[in-house]
Amino acid sequence: MSYRFGLDEWFVVELARTVHDSEVVFHGFGSPCATVAMHLAKRTHAPSALLIEGAMYAVNPYPAFIPPTSNDHSLKQGAVYSMRFEEAFDMSVRGEVDHMFLSGIQIDSFGNTNVTAIGPMPTPKVKLGGGGGGCNMSATIRRLTLWTTNHRPGRCLVEKCDFVTDLGHSTREGTRLDLGYTGGGPQALITELGVFDFPEGRARLRALFPDVTRREVAEATGFDYQEAPDLGPLERPARSQIEHIRTIDPLSVRRSEFRPAELERTFPL
């Protein structure tokens, strides 16, 4: 039988590919795929990245496994230094953090995200969890990578967010430039269908998973978008990347982000 890997693994590889070597990279909490991706990048193409581990604020840890919560001490194993809360936040808001992963229950074409509520506040239809540190950090961190594993049902990529928790490229008060923000905003949006970039501050479809059609993406997406001239399939992961993922995440917590149908998608190497 040939070597196969799952969508969850390829998805993590796509997140990891957005990490540059020698950058300062951070994710928040409740982000298993981003957590695994950061460690994958650090163990492969970005060994000199400064990795700040989510809710632990541990610097360059080497955990033996990824637990189902972001706030477990197993995540700081191997780190010789952990930041104080304020140290991590100051670093982010003064612009020293190069890259953050950010998810959204709703995401619009500017890359604004909503994790606060579906339907109007103060008594929404669904009160979501909330934004953590996003509404300040999204203004200042140099580069944001957005992701969602809920593109297909058609309710995530929306024309307009019911509520803007974190900043994309432009909101009702104007662009980042108008607002005087130093961060560069979203550079990529990765979904279980494909990858968008933001060449002019608007989402543009850049690549697809090989089992996904342009039409499926169009049907699932609530906003208009351009397609990249060289739109095509994503580059396949290397076997070593897949192996690293399985080593990093033996509990497969990354899979908790996906609906069961998506987890059935597997690919030959």
Partner: protein, 304 residues
């Protein structure tokens, strides 16, 4: 914002939570699945202290359970839920959606900035973001200011001085010197910015032991200190014990309906004291959570 030099600090849960008048602004220490002040939360529910304005960063069962008990009027946290693993907080969500509580959602960094304003004795501080988001619309108390040097317009926030902070630590001495392990989350900031600090510790130990581990919150910040073994359960309190994912999961399932939440509260909170709570959880289960140190494999298996 309180200096507590007395040698008569309350040392039992009932007396300690009696220091919290209804309507208080209550800061919750710890975060997510770690070091939440659960014994104090349960005691507040037993005492039925309501109309609370809770503040904190990213929290879970503490807020959810207080919401289930109907004790929260304003929730000013940056996140309430169980992350990807167990999802949204059922009781908190229900209360927010019905308007039983005001979800005055904030941001970790904004809360930090407001606590720093209190700590620094300043009547305002600027934040970096917020402007342009809808979070600002939930906070009429925020303002705007123009920097006199750069003309940049900032959102400014007032100081946040909670009436009381509830903090759980693994160890402390009788005077109230507390050691906690990183991440401290906002506990240091809460301890300074709050008028009262009610602390529980898993173990009261000698001053020497706290000094060797490192005093993170000094005695003069602490107004009450109670020893409650497993006082953070079902969340973790390292180096003592890992979080009880199974129990959190059982709560989340139960809290899916008001009736289920009510049953849980009767079984695990109002119908028992803390010794009774530990008996309900069972000594084998608690022992299991302390066993994480045996090996990475053991640690991992606790979460499977």
């Amino acid at each position: 914002m309180g200096i507590h030099l007395g040698s008569d600090k309350p040392s039992d849960l009932q007396t300690a939570v009696a220091m919290i008048p209804p309507g208080s602004m209550v800061a919750l220490g710890g975060g997510l699945s770690a070091r939440l002040p659960m014994a104090l939360v349960r005691e507040v529910i037993r005492a039925g202290i309501g109309d609370l304005h809770v503040v904190g960063s990213a929290h879970s069962i503490d807020v959810d359970m207080l919401a289930a008990a109907g004790l929260i009027s304003v929730c000013e946290e940056s996140y309430v839920g169980y992350e990807q693993d167990l999802g949204l907080a059922p009781a908190f969500r229900r209360a927010a959606q019905k308007g039983d509580l005001e979800a005055r959602e904030s941001c970790c960094d904004t809360i930090l900035t407001q606590l720093r304003a209190a700590e620094m004795g300043l009547s305002f501080l600027p934040v970096h973001g917020v402007k342009g988001t809808d979070i600002e619309s939930l906070h009429p108390e925020y303002g705007r200011i123009t920097c006199p040097f750069t003309d940049h317009e900032y959102v400014v926030v007032p100081p946040l001085s909670p009436d009381v902070a509830l903090i759980h630590a693994p160890i402390g001495d009788r005077q109230g010197n507390l050691h906690i392990e990183q991440p401290y989350v906002l506990d240091e900031r809460f301890a300074v910015a709050s008028a009262q600090v009610i602390a529980t510790v898993d173990r009261i130990v000698s001053t020497r032991e706290v000094v060797e581990a490192g005093i993170v919150i000094p005695f003069y910040r602490v107004s009450a200190l109670v020893e409650v073994p497993f006082g953070a359960h079902p969340t973790s309190c390292y180096p003592g014990y890992a979080y009880d994912r199974n129990h959190l999961s059982a709560w989340v399932t139960a809290a899916g309906t008001p009736e289920g939440a009510g049953d849980y509260l009767r079984n695990y909170v109002t119908g028992v004291d803390e010794a009774g709570y530990r008996r309900r959880i069972g000594p084998e289960r608690l022992e299991h959570l302390t066993g994480y140190q045996a090996s990475e494999e053991t640690w991992m298996e606790i979460f499977r």
